[in-house]
């Protein structure tokens, strides 16, 4: 994807937990905060519901970056320890990205509470900037001359 000036515009898929991060993205909207339009938000009930397969599927389908975001540990998770599960999974998932030669900056696990709209905006801004530097993921996954 590129904008009218031909600059690379990264596509970011976000898995946001219903109770915290999704509420924060809502709050950012109702507070009329602005942030880059590169994110596609998928609401899930809990960060613990996000299977690493979802993230791999997003990369395979053309995402340049993926954010999984949920409630702060230890005690904010609506389901008590879904965020623990997400944490342990994505700790290992990062190792997978490293072995497969995919830059760590392409994946973020974030804790963003329902009140932290500004944190949400900051995370999106940071990630868009990082991905613009890295460029699209796809060419790396094609076998090249």
């Amino acid at each position: 994807m590129s904008d009218s000036k031909g600059e690379f515009e990264p596509k970011i898929v976000v898995y946001a937990c219903n109770w915290c991060t999704y509420a924060a993205t809502d709050l950012a909207g109702t507070s009329r905060m602005s942030y880059p339009p590169n994110v596609r938000i998928i609401r899930v009930m809990c960060s613990g519901r996000v299977d690493p397969q979802f993230v791999l599927q997003a990369f395979a389908d053309g995402a340049d970056g993926v954010i999984v975001a949920g409630c702060h540990p230890p005690a904010d998770c609506h389901y008590i320890e879904g965020n623990y599960k997400a944490y342990r999974r994505f700790e290992l998932f990062r190792k997978l990205l490293e072995t497969m030669g995919i830059e760590q900056e392409r994946f973020r696990l974030e804790w963003i509470s329902a009140a932290e709209a500004s944190r949400w905006v900051q995370v999106v801004n940071e990630m868009v900037a990082q991905l613009k530097k890295l460029g699209p993921l796809k060419p790396n996954l094609e076998v090249r001359e």
Binding site: P52, L56, P73, A86, R89, M100, R144, E145
Partner: protein
């Protein structure tokens, strides 16, 4: 003219184990020979490619193809067999998901060739000869030159269904004779499952047919992952509950839990259950669920995961080439393969 169904069996990048599983049908093999005509089977019979080319399109009833697609020759042969066959079956883990040779997709082919032909301690290759597309061999005694065309490797290993349309899959590394037999019965009876199905195996996880399942607690939580080469599993107790990374919960059943009977954890050769799209992704999800630490114990979590040696080989032992990422990013076409070499 016989009216028996015609069967072809071709091997691609294979270890020979899948062919062995055919032989392991033992006396049942005689029934197979009674029921079908084998029209192509390079491992055991002297048919040539031309023999297949001469057959009318669609005249082979079933082509069984094992091994991963690693060479241009494999690619050409499976395309030819696709044209000549009504049903194409990916036989075994390599053909279905890349299998163990698919783990080479973590390396550029140049790196793999250098390792194999130059660096391995058992190799003696002072002239640093690597595979080439064509070799011209001078034979001074006969005052002649002989030319050899070698099949060109592909930059990464591909599962069969990334090259041709596949009708069915028979899982396992190798499939067990019983699984193969069940699949053959289903196919020869004309009682065909829907296209794309796994035949001969189950769609329940391996735990479902494991005799240790009764000892598996409702909720498995472990503090560390144990390795069977460092610690000895207690018999008669679910290996996972003891901390051994058994892939049973995320693996398709059908083998009757063979490895567990030998006191070894399952490594996942029967592959993905229906609905799983990436075996390694699912495995990570599962490891994360059973580890008994909270995020504040970050160091312990890292330590536990560091206890998994060759961890890509653990989560993708048989399926890296079929994973969503399929190979390491940035893999390039090989540079070290020369067009012609004269020796």
């Amino acid at each position: 003219m016989s009216e028996k169904p015609k069967v072809a069996w071709y091997w691609c990048a294979s270890c020979g184990g899948c062919e062995e599983s055919f032989v392991d049908l033992a006396e049942r093999l005689l029934k197979v020979f009674e029921a079908v005509d084998i029209v192509f089977c390079p491992v055991a019979m002297d048919f040539k490619r031309e023999d297949v080319e001469k057959l009318p399109d669609g005249s082979i009833t079933v082509a069984l193809i094992n091994g991963g697609i690693r060479l241009k020759e494999h690619e050409e042969m499976v395309k030819l067999l696709r044209k000549k066959s009504k049903i194409v079956i990916a036989y075994g883990a390599c053909s279905a998901w890349g299998g163990i040779p698919g783990l080479a997709n973590l390396y550029n082919l140049d790196e793999a060739l250098e390792r194999k032909y130059l660096e391995v301690p058992t190799i003696e290759n002072p002239k640093e000869v690597l595979p080439t597309k064509k070799i011209i061999v001078n034979i001074p005694e006969a005052k002649m030159k002989a030319e050899l065309e070698l099949p060109e490797p592909l930059p990464v290993l591909l599962p069969l269904d990334k090259v041709i349309d596949v009708d069915y899959y028979i899982p396992g590394c190798p499939p067990t004779p019983d699984v193969f037999w069940n699949a053959l019965q289903a196919l020869l009876s004309g009682n065909l499952p829907p296209k794309g199905a796994i035949v001969g195996a189950s769609n329940r996880s391996l735990c479902d047919e494991c005799s240790l399942n009764e000892t598996k607690p409702e909720k498995v939580l472990v503090k560390e992952f144990k390795r069977p080469d460092k610690a000895k599993p207690e018999p008669n107790k679910c290996l996972l509950a003891q901390g051994f990374l058994c892939m049973g919960p995320v693996t398709r059943g059908g083998c009757t839990a063979l490895c567990i009977k030998g006191n070894m954890p399952c490594t996942g050769c029967f592959g993905l259950l229906d609905g799983i799209v990436d075996y390694g992704g699912k495995a990570i999800s599962y490891f994360g669920s059973i580890l008994d630490y909270s995020p504040v114990e970050e160091k312990e979590i890292k330590k536990a995961f560091d206890g998994i040696p060759d961890w890509i080989g653990t989560i993708y032992r048989y399926s890296l080439a079929a994973s969503k990422l399929s190979h390491k990013a940035g893999i390039k076409k090989p540079k070290r393969i020369k067009e012609v070499v004269e020796i």
